[in-house]
């Protein structure tokens, strides 16, 4: 049974340039994939390959021109964010920017609950504390502001914010890019642990092939808005077919071998 399914997602972005008549076009897709509960899908590719755009399409920040997104076999309507299904949550690339500087962490985490659930203040507060504990923070942290936390703690808050609504799928846009290696591995382990416990499907965009190989079950390789290869992680890393994938994997292997020797 597929938890999450994307069928032929196409996005066409035409920006009319004020100075010239030829509009700049960017085309993404068609993208299709499916995801089982507890599975991790990684999307890799160079800059401007449309990875972040794909993430925005999945959570509903941008609207696709055609194609369908299905959750448990039911199509999701992303047109209206206020009423759409909140089974998909997003973790942003820069956890510092994605937390409101003027609010305490408790208020930041309470916001999605207030908007999407019918819990009263006491229940919301309990859930906030529970979620903070779940990601390895303390209940006292709900009174803290963004500037009082370290990068790793901010990333944990971003994770807590994504998990607090009990989503089925979490989309993360390079969640570990800003972290140093030790904190990064902590975050990766935390994420894998939570994924195992909660059984969420995880879509993960990254440059770091080491982490991709470590945590993902499937990989999609993108270049210039097109999917050029997709399949099981081990297959792609062992027998890459497309030229671009070969280059990526070779570069990664060279790095690993050099570190090993």
């Amino acid at each position: 049974m597929e938890l999450f399914k994307v069928e032929d997602l196409i996005f066409n972005n035409q920006k009319q340039n004020f100075w010239s008549n030829t509009p700049a076009t960017y085309e993404l897709g068609p993208v299709s994939f499916n995801l089982k509960a507890g599975e991790t899908l990684a999307i890799i590719g160079g800059n401007s390959s449309g990875k972040s755009l794909l993430a925005k399409l999945l959570v509903g920040l941008e609207r696709p021109n055609s194609g369908r997104i299905l959750m448990n076999g039911v199509e999701i309507n992303n047109a209206d964010l206020t009423s759409s299904c909140h089974d998909i949550r997003m973790i942003f690339q820069n956890s510092n920017e994605s937390l409101n500087p003027g609010l305490t962490l408790g208020a930041i985490l309470e916001e999605p609950l207030r908007l999407n659930t019918k819990l009263d203040t006491q229940q919301r507060n309990n859930l906030v504390v529970k979620t903070l504990r779940k990601v390895g923070l303390m209940s006292d942290h709900q009174f803290f502001y963004r500037h009082m936390l370290s990068d790793g703690q901010r990333q944990r808050v971003a994770l807590a914010r994504a998990l607090i609504l009990n989503p089925k799928v979490v989309v993360a846009d390079e969640p570990f890019a800003a972290l140093d290696p030790s904190v990064r591995s902590q975050a990766v382990n935390l994420l894998m642990q939570l994924q195992k416990d909660l059984g969420i499907g995880f879509i993960f965009i990254s440059h770091n092939l080491g982490i991709v190989r470590h945590i993902s079950d499937k990989v999609i390789v993108m270049q210039d808005g097109k999917v050029i290869e997709s399949g099981k992680t081990e297959v792609i890393f062992t027998w890459p077919k497309a030229e671009y994938t070969k280059k990526l994997v070779d570069a990664h292997q060279a790095l690993v071998n050099r570190q090993g020797s």
Partner: protein, 297 residues
């Protein structure tokens, strides 16, 4: 501050307490605050503080010097004016009038300006542009000049001058709010709030407004000192508050007739006006940096 305490801390400072802690570190701002609180107390409790009715004329006590002068008496601490009215009472009532009206005007301009600016910032295209620039034409002319034009049409009077000042203050609030909302809308935390399902109003009230304190305090302080000066300037020119009224600017213009023989008639209201504007600016500046530092350390 210990970040990790084994036991849950009993009390955590609220945002307001954080601001107060930061504000206390600035001693000059604290001095300004004492002064400002004094003016607020005067504004509220003026009838209890003033020893005489401000319009009570004592024909036997014309131009009595203040109490520190050799010829002065303790009955009239600040002396009396050309009609035998007690200057202390008049200055107290004058502070009440000038300061109270200015605060009223700024609060009104702030509410209207922030409201319009928020709508302009959250909407796109023509509507946004229209709301943003409708009142711009007013900004091209100095406040006093607009006030004079409005008074020329509607006639002299305190209420007319109040309208003129409000009209002149609103566009700045609109601009500040719109620019701020525009710059915040593109940030990721607003995008995250949108994904939480926040509507536009919730987005503004819950996500953007908590970060606007600094901008608003800065603009409100500026507006408050402008409106204090304008009200008294119009009073001084006999365009705003009229003669028997004890508005500070009107006091000055009445005192100028006897300036050479009784300089305390203009020195004392002038001093009060000066102190008022300085304390407003100092407190505003201190509050702004406190709000900024609250989110830095």
């Amino acid at each position: 501050m210990a970040r990790f305490n084994l036991y849950q801390e009993e009390q955590h400072p609220s945002p307001l307490q954080y601001t107060w802690l930061e504000f206390q570190k600035n001693h000059i701002a604290m001095g300004g605050l004492v002064c400002l609180v004094l003016f607020i107390l005067i504004t509220v409790f003026c009838p209890l503080l003033a020893p005489f009715d401000p319009n009570l004329q004592k024909t036997g006590n014309i131009l009595v010097p203040p109490s520190w002068d050799a010829n002065g008496g303790i009955t009239h601490i600040f002396g009396t004016d050309g009609l035998g009215r007690d200057i202390l009472s008049r200055v107290l009532y004058g502070c009440r009038m000038t300061f109270g009206i200015s605060i009223l005007l700024v609060v009104f301009a702030l509410l209207v300006g922030v409201g319009l600016g928020a709508i302009a910032g959250m909407s796109k295209g023509f509507r946004s542009s229209f709301l943003n620039h409708t009142l711009d034409s007013i900004q091209a002319i100095p406040t006093i000049l607009i006030a004079i034009i409005i008074i020329a049409i509607l006639g002299t009077g305190l209420v007319n001058s109040m309208w003129a000042i409000v009209l002149a203050l609103i566009p700045q609030f609109v601009h500040q709010t719109r620019d701020f909302v525009r710059s915040e809308l593109s940030k990721e935390y607003v995008m995250a709030a949108r994904l939480d399902g926040a509507s536009k109003i919730q987005l503004f009230a819950r996500s953007i407004l908590p970060n606007m304190g600094e901008t608003l305090v800065m603009q409100a302080t500026l507006a408050l000192s402008i409106s204090i000066l304008d009200i008294s300037a119009l009073g001084f020119l006999n365009l705003g508050a009229q003669a028997p009224s004890s508005e500070l600017g009107a006091l000055l213009s009445q005192g100028i007739e006897v300036a050479y023989i009784a300089p305390w008639n203009i020195a004392l209201p002038g001093g009060a006006l000066f102190l008022m504007v300085v304390s407003v600016n100092i407190v505003g500046d201190g509050l702004r940096s406190a709000l900024k530092n609250r989110l830095l350390h």
